[in-house]
Symmetry: C2
Subunit: 201 residues, 2 copies
């Protein structure tokens, strides 16, 4: 398993990666802040996602048992969603077509400046996206833009062998649709009120 | 030292608390998303700050030496700023009058759902604010809204003995004006480019 795959496995738990495999052309999502594509299904990497709605962050999250791969310097994962979809979720507890999640992975540091313990965020590592779009057969697709500072400006949806385990995990373990709302405290309350949590949550 | 003071000491490092002590009335900040006051200087607690610009988060940050007060269950600190001031900083590397920072403190958890290590965010603990407003003698004021779920809807600026050590620390240790830009990676790059970092950063 290469370094990138390790990181994916470690951090993908923040929203994980389930993956559309084949595509059909249909109506496009209409939000001004929704997904923008190149050549039909290549997602153009959003450059303004730091102005989007922040959902939560985690440090060193993993679904590996502790100790098997505990990093000396764990990474932060920050999750952002396009603002119009966030507002829609707060009203309905569901994600509208055209929702874009961004998982931003950053290095962490501890002793620096006046900080003596705990960890804070530093350099960008990579960006990944998860998009709800009815043009994809299962309604969702997942995109990797590679490692900073040489990220791709657009990415094809993941497909084939790269996504098999993701699909199973995201179908089984997510609290709302294909998203890990159990890790986003402000959304969890809304989903509970709206009755959109899956059974068991 | 009570629980609240301990928490303050532990988490205030994210942006720390320097404090205006006396006030004079002058022109008000004009941003639509800027500070709103009651009775002149009591800051009305913003209820929409989760739609503001996210700056960064830290876990268990402290300026105490490690081991002296390491919590078994460390808290996350999320920092948000009003969007118009964020856009202004990205252009100039400085904070305009009327800037509002929110520090949101949340509990953390580890083993839950499919997560087996690392930590993610859970319940809200408290909210604090730092405001740049030229009506305050040193240009900045700091506000505590108490503990969730019984937070105050407005708060007077900290003053007197509650803030003496904060003032010294914030004058000495902050990278840009009274703010810990060294812990906000996207802003740190901008301040470096614009030449607004204090000497030593």
């Amino acid at each position: 398993m290469d370094a990138h795959s390790m990181m994916m496995k470690r951090l993908a738990v923040v929203f994980g990666l389930a993956c559309g495999i084949t595509f059909s052309l249909g109506s496009r999502a209409q939000q001004a802040d929704g997904p923008r594509y190149m050549n039909g299904t290549s997602l153009i990497r959003p450059t303004d996602y730091r102005e989007w709605t922040f959902l939560s962050s985690g440090l060193g999250m993993t679904y590996e048992p502790p100790g098997s791969s505990s990093p000396a310097s764990p990474s932060f994962g920050n999750v952002f969603v396009n603002p119009s979809s966030s507002r829609s979720f707060m009203q309905t507890g569901r994600w509208p077509d055209g929702t874009v999640f961004i998982l931003e992975i950053r290095k962490s540091n501890s002793e620096a400046s006046i900080n003596k313990a705990g960890r804070f965020q530093t350099d960008l590592v990579s960006i990944e996206a998860e998009v709800k779009d009815s043009r994809f057969p299962d309604g969702w697709a997942f995109f990797l833009f590679g490692a900073a500072p040489s990220m791709r400006s657009a990415a094809e949806p993941l497909s084939g062998d790269r996504v098999t385990s993701c699909v199973e995990c995201h179908t089984k373990n997510t609290a709302v649709e294909r998203t890990f709302v159990q890790f986003y405290p402000t959304l969890l309350d809304v989903a509970r009120q709206k009755g959109t949590l899956k059974p068991g949550f």
